[in-house]
Amino acid sequence: MPTDIDLYERKMKMENRKNVLIQIFISTLYLSAFTFGGGYVIVTLMKKKFVDEYHWIEDEEMLDLIAIAQSSPGAIAVNGAIVVGYKLAGMIGALVAIVATIIPPFVIISLISVFYEAFKESFLISQLLMGMQAGVGAVIASVVCDMGAEVLHARKISSDIIMAATFIATCVFGVSVIYVILVCIGIGVIEALAFGRREER
């Protein structure tokens, strides 16, 4: 028979869990709505919130969770929300975090796409959008310069070959990117197994 104290404790636990879920929801919703600049920024802010502010996750563990978020396929912001939600409150926590992360972009883009269809034909908007095409091209070119330099600086010949071969395959021959990714995963697994063995010796 559960005593009054047991019931009280259970009630407190449920209250606590509810509070954690609400806090996860509000935090991830806020981060998702106000973070410009992609997933890398968002996971840093998550660390600030959940490690430095709430002390719900330990520093080192958070770094590994971020590593999982960054190395899994999919958007880093979504992956980050999943690891944090899962760590704090299991599957329900992950679900709450995902929903909170998706709501802001879903609402914003829904509104924009309605306006986009309506305003695409207007002189002002069409010219602005066209100029921004050159701008976004420049942003991507700049990102590629930074990322490419990083790869070249690692001075790993196999990386350079993969980069050149992928560029030729996708840009010149129009090979579907999914095949390229599958091949690279294959190479990575083989390399990892080979390297792993070498280190064991």
């Binding site: 890398y40 899962y86 998706i102 100029g131 701008g135 070119a141 700049s142 990102v143 590629v144 990386s159």
Partner: protein
């Protein structure tokens, strides 16, 4: 069935975009523009631009944008769920494995191999965006038809990004304003060689 097609397309985008940020872009282009023709290259470029200026991951933004255009809000929901489903499964599995074994080595090695390929794929996608910007949506390149104003705006934006600390959003807006000003001064027709 359009919902199923949307779902499967974005499922692939979600499952194969490694590395975050721009990594999803070549996959989205592959599925949305090349395979299904749901957007043309100009609309795709607008989508990337809009994604840059609003919060939220490119994959989610694209799922919402394309979903609404093709099949309304239900389409947007279906596409969004498709794009996050692989993450949900893979990330929770990995998190569970990690919390038990605390070892991520194989995964990170594979990611290191993928990195240079992802950079090259982003470069390819960037080039198709520039082709659209300089030569229009049909993608036919010929030197006399080059839109010199767009080339000029690209060079200005690129230099600003490399030499100053201006944010990408500010630089893109500036690109838009420059084009608008030039259209008001010289008319909409492109200035070419």
């Amino acid at each position: 069935m359009i919902y199923l097609e949307l779902f499967l397309s974005f499922l692939q985008i979600g499952a194969f975009s490694f590395g975050g940020g721009y990594a999803a872009m070549p996959l989205i282009q592959d599925q949305i523009v090349t395979k299904h023709g749901w957007l043309d290259m100009a609309e795709f470029t607008d989508l990337i631009t809009i994604s840059q200026m609003t919060p939220g991951p490119i994959a989610i933004n694209s799922a919402t944008f394309v979903g609404i255009k093709i099949a309304g809000v239900t389409g947007a929901l279906v596409a969004t769920i498709g794009s996050i489903l692989p993450s949900c499964i893979i990330v929770t599995l990995l998190a569970r494995l990690y919390l038990r074994y605390r070892n991520l080595e194989l995964l990170q090695r594979v990611l290191t191999t993928l990195r240079p390929a992802v950079v090259a794929m982003i470069a390819s996608a960037g080039i198709s965006i520039l082709i659209t910007a300089f030569w229009g949506s049909d993608g036919i390149i010929s030197l006399p038809d080059t839109d010199l104003i767009m080339v000029g705006i690209f060079i200005i934006c690129f230099l600003l990004l490399r030499r100053t600390k201006l944010s990408p959003i500010a630089v893109m807006v500036l690109g838009g304003v420059l084009k608008l000003l030039s259209a008001m001064l010289f008319g909409v027709g492109q200035i070419s060689i």
